[in-house]
Amino acid sequence: MTGSEPKATPDLARELGLTADEYDRIIKRLGREPTYTELGLFSALWSEHCAYKHSRVFLARLPQTGPHVLQGPGENAGVVDIGDGWAVVFKIESHNHPSFIEPFQGAATGVGGILRDIFTMGARPIALLDSLRFGEPDDPKTRRLIEGVVSGISWYGNCFGCPTVGGEIAFAPEYAGNPLVNVMCVGLVRADRIFRARAEGVGNPVFYVGNKTGRDGIHGATMASSTFDERAEERRPTVQVGDPFTEKLLLEACLELMQTGAVVGIQDMGAAGLACCTSEMPARAGTGMEVELSRVPRREIEMTPYEILLSESQERMLLVVARGREEEVRRVFAKWELDAVEIGQVTGDGDLTVRHHGEIAARLPVKALAEAPRYEKPTAPPPWMAELRAFDPLTLPEPADYEEALLAVLGSPTIGSKEWAFRQYDQQVGINTLVLPGSDAAVLRVKGTRRALAISTDGNGRQVFLHPRRGAAMAVCEAARNVSCAGGRPLGVTDCLNFGSPERPEILWQFAEAIDGLAEACRALDLPVVGGNVSFYNETNGQAVLPTPIVGVVGVLEEAGRAATQWFKGAGHRLALLGPDAVSLGGSEYLWTLHRRLAGALAPLDLGLERRVQSAVQAAIGTELVLSAHDCAEGGLAVAVAEGCVTGRELVGGSVTLPEGARADLTLFGEGPSRVVVSVDPARVLEFEGLMAESAIPWCWIGTTGSERLRVRCGSTTVIDAAIESLEQAWRRGFERHLA
């Protein structure tokens, strides 16, 4: 069979996505021409997706270590110690392109992939969060995308049995041709029972477990090969289809087997499938591996070695098992009605040897596959940056009616309630979820301890577009601030970097700047980046997405019972605004909603102050001095206060007085970092003031909760006096009205 395959040539290499230089490099490294199958291996493992060719040099700038870090980048997911013998495993992944081609299955298999990344580490997944970006929702095509993506996430997560507890959905025209589907997963593991993707121990057997292999998702380049005949149609590579039920069985079987001590190393077959596992696992361990492809369980006939190696069929894993424990593997997987087949063993020769019916289809040093080229391509700031930032939003007319303006911003699809989406997600399975979707961060208890986890994902493409470095730093701050607003102490970060083509200098500049921003903020907040994902080439016809780093932060609360939520808890509570005054309408939701403009400068970011504000909020929540805490993000202070009124189970009004001076739209809707609105029991005002004084942060009282209306004054002028029901309606319908 191998004999009939096409010969490797520079042309074929190019069709498979390798450059002429890369092809030369392969020949030099091997000292010979690669076989067709070998070329396929290189093309997959040296792809941007697997090898991070264009990003690796930049990613190295991120802080990746810290006292709690048990595993940083380099494995399937990062691991952070949370005390009491427990560790939390988390990572975020994108599935943007597949979701655009087939929204339901694309999003579903995105969930499946990130779940596997978590449970290969030995952790039980306890939470999913999804960060989604779409074009404007009044376009019917976008609506279908949203419906498909949300129902795909719902189907996979619900059927598998992991709650979806948070995430975000935002809209901008730049995402119309390239929606973003990023999913984060968090799992729990005993700190001393972490598994890694390493093929240790020469002679240990290698097991293939899980679903059978089909032609799903194989690089389209196979089509170009001359082995294709009249049955080409039948062999066409196909879209990946998810099977959450099999994934659930795979989870239970893997965790059960891990308990026995038989597992030496394990990796999920994600991108580039078997090729990736059989080369990365030995590469990490400094070993080699030999496999016999005819033993791989298949669901289609006449698959070539190339196809078997590169198939991206879902719900599969590769296990390295201690020699002599094979029966245990077979027994556990048989119990869960899954295939588990010994397909090879770990070798000491440093080679990946692939046989098909005994015949060698590929034999390559695993190091060669792992040593993809790294590029540092040129970067250049886009020429339009300066002009865009120079725009002053205050040159636009002031709104005639501020109440209308508030209703419009509160009812914009980006700010409006996302209940339409998350009521389709199981939020509670596992009975850990203390704070459900709808507050700044989700909170999950850790059973058997007093602790809880607070988790949030955030990212604001507009801000990064206008100022990649500061915008990216703000994304870290915002995600961490959300965790702080739930009472959590942020412990670690995972990030998903969604950008256009890195081969364009201005995109790579955005990327490099964003990395520097992430790095600065993470250093200032002592937050190691323990894993993440880069998604380049999010562009269609030269239109790139807004540069969108999504930041996921996990934090810990010492007392689960003290978790805070964002909504007001009743009448008569004092309202305080913590943080700096400086805000800007540049890149704001207000500017977009009312004027359809994306321009202007961002507010300044003081990372030291950010840190102090977050510590103050954590301390206030930890000592139960505040009854609610909500960070000021999109929509500014006015929206933060209005959300305090309308997002809880009971509506609570409020009366707020803000300083005069700036134009009211800037005061109300200006956006800036490091700002939090809290409500305080009047009986504890003195204690609260004491804590604020100690914290050395700017803050002020801004009003009280109560009544059926939200009244906002700037100085002595009443600018908003709205019935809270009308605010609630606007917020509740803001997103949903575009769908059904």
Binding site: S151, S154, W155, N158, C159, F160, G161, D243, P244, F245, T246, K248, L249, W336, E337, F422, R423, Q424, Y425, D426, Q427, Q428, V429, G430, I431, L434, R445, K447, A560, G561
Partner: protein, 237 residues
């Protein structure tokens, strides 16, 4: 009272029920594998939520024909109690242990949300600690929870008092808008004629601790314990 929580391939509320029974109610509990037919050492079998066998074909269809469910017939005949929640309810209907069937939600979407249930019959072991008209708060989480039975079967259910819970407003009003899935007559839970097998779509195990937002789910267990344990621990009516 000894509980057994059944585990099918694809079940996911098993651990939650196990936790509530052992950690909150402090009762003995074990897992029962779906291939087991031996139910001798338990008094109450719980069929938990999840997607048994992926719920492919129809929710609960394949599990409804599994060995453990086949053994439930005898178990019930011997006086055993069965509680099926969510997927467990679907399985009981598919197996014919309860009348009716569960169809796709009328909105054609999955729904995970808090619901209120009004209690209709307090003569069953699962509800004897409750009052008629009492409102319980418990979440649902399902895509196929619309209860259906034909007119004859519904009439019989009504006549026998087999309708135990209906979806209602927080005040106990049975209204169209309080019905989250389009169930006929807002039916959320039914029992067999003897009252020893209860199926309901909501999740009592998710409403069993103050931290989870409601403890009303415990009332079902406490009723059950009161009805079988002679220590008078169950709630006074």
């Amino acid at each position: 009272m000894r509980f057994g929580v059944v585990v099918f391939p694809g079940t996911w509320s098993d651990c939650d029920f196990h936790y509530v029974v052992s950690e909150v109610l402090r009762q003995p509990v074990k897992y029962i594998w779906h291939r087991d037919r031996n139910l001798d050492d338990v008094d109450c079998v719980v069929l938990p939520g999840g997607f048994s066998y992926g719920d492919y074909l129809r929710a609960g269809a394949v599990a409804g024909r599994s060995p453990v469910v086949e053994a439930l017939g005898d178990f019930v005949a011997r006086g055993g109690h069965v509680l099926g929640s969510c997927n467990g309810f679907q399985i009981l209907c598919e197996a014919g242990l309860l009348p009716g069937a569960l169809m796709r939600n009328e909105c054609l979407q999955y729904r995970c949300q808090q619901t209120h249930l009004v209690v209709e019959n307090v003569e069953t072991p699962f509800t004897r600690g409750l009052r008629v008209g009492q409102v319980l708060t418990m979440p649902i989480s399902h895509g196929e929870g619309k209860y259906y039975a034909d007119a004859g079967a519904l009439a019989k259910l009504r006549k026998n008092g087999q309708i135990v819970f209906r979806y209602a407003t927080a005040e106990g009003q049975v209204t169209r808008t309080a019905n989250p899935n389009g169930s006929l007559e807002s039916i959320a839970g039914v029992v067999n004629e003897e009252g020893t097998v209860l199926g309901l779509m909501p999740h009592p195990e998710r409403a069993a601790e103050p931290a989870m937002g409601s403890t009303d789910g415990l009332l079902i267990f406490q009723s059950l314990l009161g009805s079988l344990v002679e220590d008078g621990s169950f709630l006074k009516r």
